[in-house]
C-alpha cells in the first residue's frame, strides 16, 4: 500500500485523541464518584471506595492470573526471587510493558508479595 498525500495523518490524530479520551472515561467510570465528607476526625475522602476488580482480575485467581499473564511473553519468575518491595516496582514497570489493567497489576502484586517471603 502506498500513500502519497497522507490523509492518514489526521485520521491518526483523531485516533490518538479518541484512545486517550476513551481510556480516561473508562478509568473514571471505574474509579467512583466524588463525595464531600469523610468520617468524623479524619480528613475528608475525595472519592468513594473504587469498585471491585473487573475483567480477568475478578474472574481468575490471583495465582492463575500471575502465571497466565507473565507466561505470555516470558516464563514467570518464582515469587521468592524478589522481595515484596522489589515486586512492587517490577509490577509497576510491567503495568505498561505488558498492557495490564490496574486491577491486574494489583491482583498479581498481592499474590507475589504474599508468596515472596
Amino acid at each position: 500500500m502506498r500513500i502519497q498525500r497522507y490523509p492518514a495523518i489526521p485520521v491518526l490524530v483523531v485516533l490518538v485523541i479518541s484512545l486517550t479520551a476513551g481510556g480516561v472515561l473508562l478509568g473514571c467510570r471505574a474509579a467512583g464518584k466524588t463525595v464531600s465528607a469523610g468520617p468524623p476526625g479524619q480528613a475528608a475522602s475525595t472519592t468513594r471506595p473504587a469498585e471491585g476488580p473487573q475483567g480477568w482480575a475478578a474472574t481468575m485467581g490471583h495465582a492463575e492470573l500471575w502465571t497466565q499473564t507473565c507466561n505470555r511473553c516470558h516464563y514467570a519468575w518464582s515469587p521468592d526471587q524478589l522481595s515484596p518491595t522489589q515486586w512492587e516496582v517490577v509490577m509497576r514497570h510491567m503495568r505498561l510493558r505488558a498492557n495490564l489493567t490496574g486491577d491486574e497489576q494489583k491482583a498479581i502484586l498481592e499474590f507475589l508479595q504474599s508468596a515472596s517471603h
Binding site: 500500500m1 502506498r2 500513500i3 502519497q4 498525500r5 497522507y6 492518514a8 495523518i9 491518526l12 490524530v13 485516533l15 490518538v16 484512545l19 486517550t20 476513551g22 481510556g23 480516561v24 473508562l26 478509568g27 473514571c28 471505574a30 474509579a31 473504587a50 473487573q54 475483567g55 480477568w56 474472574t59 481468575m60 492470573l65 497466565q68 499473564t69 507466561n71 505470555r72 511473553c73 516470558h74 516464563y75 514467570a76 519468575w77 518464582s78 526471587q81 522481595s83 518491595t85 522489589q86 512492587e88 516496582v89 517490577v90 509497576r92 514497570h93 503495568r95 505498561l96 510493558r97 505488558a98 498492557n99 495490564l100 489493567t101 490496574g102 486491577d103 491486574e104 497489576q105
Partner: protein, 436 residues
C-alpha cells in the same frame, strides 16, 4: 545337743509375750480419733492450697519469662526489618536495578566465528503510587576489521510515566514504541527464544524501536476479553539521504526532530484469552530532513500470538507472528551527483515479518526434558533491489533452548539464509542469556 527342759519353756514364754505385745502395738496405731482426723484433714487442705498457689506462681513466672523473651526477639526482628525497609525505600522512593545480559557465540559460514557479550541495565524508580521513571542502557563491545575495539553505550529508555487511573497511563521521554510486539515484549535476550532478532526487527529492520515524545496507553476489560490501546506523538524517524550505502532507509534512533514535523501513531490489541492476542499498529509522519524534498512515510504492522498448554502434547505451544509494512514515498537522492552515488531514485516500499513456533513439554515429570524447548522460525524481509541495503532475504532458523530457570536460558540455533542479491549468510548461533 541336749537343752534343759526349763530353758525350752522359758524361750517359749518369751516368744509368746513378745508376739502379744506386738499385736497390741499394731492394733493401737490402726485407728485415729475424730479430732486427729479433722486436724489432719485441715492440714492436708491447707497444704494442697499452698502447693497449688506455688505451682500457679511458678507457671505464671515461666510464661512471663517466655513472653518477655519473644517480645525481645520480635523487637529485634522489627528493628532489622525497619532498617532493611528504610534502606530499600530511601524515603518514599523505591528503586530497583534490573535488566538482562547475554554471552553470544556466532559462527557465520565464510566468516570468522566470534564470541560476544552485552549488558542491558534497566533502572526503575517508583516515586509514588502514580509516578514512575525507567531508564535503560544497551552496553556492548565490538572490534572492527581495522582491529579497533570500542564499547558502545546506547540509550534504550529514559521516560517518566503517570498513572491517570486503572485504565490509562500517560508519559513522555525516550520510550519503546508500542509498534507491533517484538521490541516491546520479546526483545530482551532472556525472553527471545532465539539468539537473534527476526529480520524486520534487526539491524536492517523496518520496525521502529524507540521514540522521543509523549504517549498514552492502557488496557480495559471488554466482556470476557480484554483490549489494550496505545497512542503517541514523537519526533519521528528521519530518512537517510546523504549516504550511498543506506540512502532511503529510516533512522529510528533519531533523538531530535530534523524537520519540525512530528510522527503520530498507535496500536490497538485484543486479547480473547490471557494466552492470545491480535493487534494492529500504525505510525505516520514526514520523514525527510530539512532542506530535502518532501518524503512521507506510513508504517503498519499486524501481530498475533497464541499460547496454550495442551495435555495431549504434554506441553505448551507458543506461536508468534508479526508482519510489518513500510511505505515511504519516492525521492531522488543525490540529484546532482555531488555525493558520488546519485542521482538515485527507487521504489521505497519494504515489508517483512516472521512466524515462530516453540514447544516446551511443561507437564513432563522429568525435569531435564521439561526444561528443553525446540524453536522454529521463518522470517523474511522484502524490498526493492535497487534500494541501497534493499533486496529480498529470508531465513529458516531451527533452535533448541535449555531453561536453567525462568530467567536463565542456554540457546543454540542454526540459521539457513537465502539472500536474493548477496551471498547467503548461514550461521551457527549460541547464546547464554539471563534476566537480572
Amino acid at each position: 545337743m541336749n537343752v534343759p527342759r526349763g530353758v525350752n519353756v522359758a524361750i517359749f514364754l518369751a516368744l509368746a509375750c513378745s508376739w502379744a505385745w506386738a499385736q497390741e502395738a499394731v492394733d493401737a496405731s490402726k485407728y485415729v480419733s475424730r479430732e486427729e482426723y479433722e486436724a489432719l484433714k485441715k492440714q492436708m487442705a491447707a497444704m494442697q492450697a499452698e502447693v497449688a498457689e506455688m505451682r500457679k506462681t511458678n507457671v505464671d513466672a515461666a510464661v512471663n519469662a517466655d513472653r518477655l523473651e519473644m517480645v525481645d526477639e520480635m523487637s529485634e526482628q522489627i528493628k532489622t526489618l525497619q532498617h532493611q525497609t528504610n534502606f530499600l525505600t530511601s524515603g518514599a522512593t523505591k528503586f530497583f536495578l534490573t535488566g538482562d545480559a547475554a554471552v553470544n557465540f556466532t559462527s557465520p559460514r565464510g566468516s570468522p566465528s566470534t564470541f560476544g557479550a552485552k549488558f542491558n541495565p534497566l533502572f526503575l524508580v517508583q516515586l509514588d503510587d502514580r509516578l514512575f521513571f525507567e531508564g535503560g542502557l544497551d552496553i556492548a563491545g565490538s572490534t572492527n576489521p581495522d582491529d579497533q575495539s570500542s564499547t558502545t553505550v546506547g540509550l534504550t529508555e529514559a521516560n517518566i510515566s503517570y498513572l491517570v487511573n486503572k485504565n490509562l497511563a500517560v508519559g513522555g521521554g525516550w520510550f519503546t514504541l508500542p509498534f507491533a510486539r517484538f521490541h516491546n515484549n520479546y526483545d530482551a535476550s532472556w525472553i527471545n527464544r532465539l539468539p537473534d532478532e527476526p529480520l524486520p526487527f534487526g539491524d536492517r529492520g523496518i520496525a521502529p524501536g524507540n521514540g522521543m515524545g509523549l504517549f498514552a496507553e492502557g488496557a480495559a476489560p471488554l466482556g470476557r476479553t480484554q483490549i489494550n490501546y496505545a497512542a503517541y506523538v514523537i519526533n519521528g524517524p528521519s530518512q537517510i539521504t546523504n549516504s550511498g550505502e543506506n540512502a532511503g532507509t529510516l533512522n529510528f534512533d533519531s533523538f531530535d526532530d530534523l524537520n519540525n514535523n512530528k510522527a503520530v501513531g498507535g496500536r490497538i490489541g485484543w486479547q480473547p484469552t490471557t494466552g492470545s492476542e491480535i493487534g494492529y499498529s500504525i505510525m505516520g509522519g514526514r520523514v525527510n530532513p530539512n532542506g530535502f524534498q518532501r518524503v512521507d512515510g506510513v508504517l503498519q504492522a499486524v501481530d498475533a500470538q497464541y499460547r496454550k498448554e495442551i495435555a495431549r502434547l504434554y506441553g505448551t505451544i507458543d506461536t508468534r507472528a508479526e508482519w510489518v509494512w513500510s511505505n515511504v514515498s519516492k525521492a531522488t537522492f543525490d540529484p546532482t551527483g555531488a555525493l558520488m552515488f546519485g542521482p538515485l531514485r527507487f521504489n521505497n516500499d519494504r515489508n517483512g515479518g516472521y512466524v515462530q513456533v516453540s514447544y516446551r513439554p511443561t507437564v513432563l515429570r522429568n525435569k531435564y526434558l521439561r526444561n528443553i524447548e525446540p524453536v522454529i522460525r521463518y522470517d523474511t524481509l522484502e524490498g526493492s533491489s535497487h534500494a541501497p541495503g534493499g533486496g529480498d532475504e529470508c531465513r529458516l532458523t531451527l533452535g533448541l533452548d535449555y531453561w536453567v530457570k525462568a530467567n536463565a536460558v542456554f540457546k543454540i540455533a542454526y540459521e539457513c539464509d537465502n539472500m536474493k542479491d548477496a551471498p547467503d549468510q548461514d550461521a551457527f548461533l549460541a547464546q547464554f542469556a539471563i534476566g537480572l
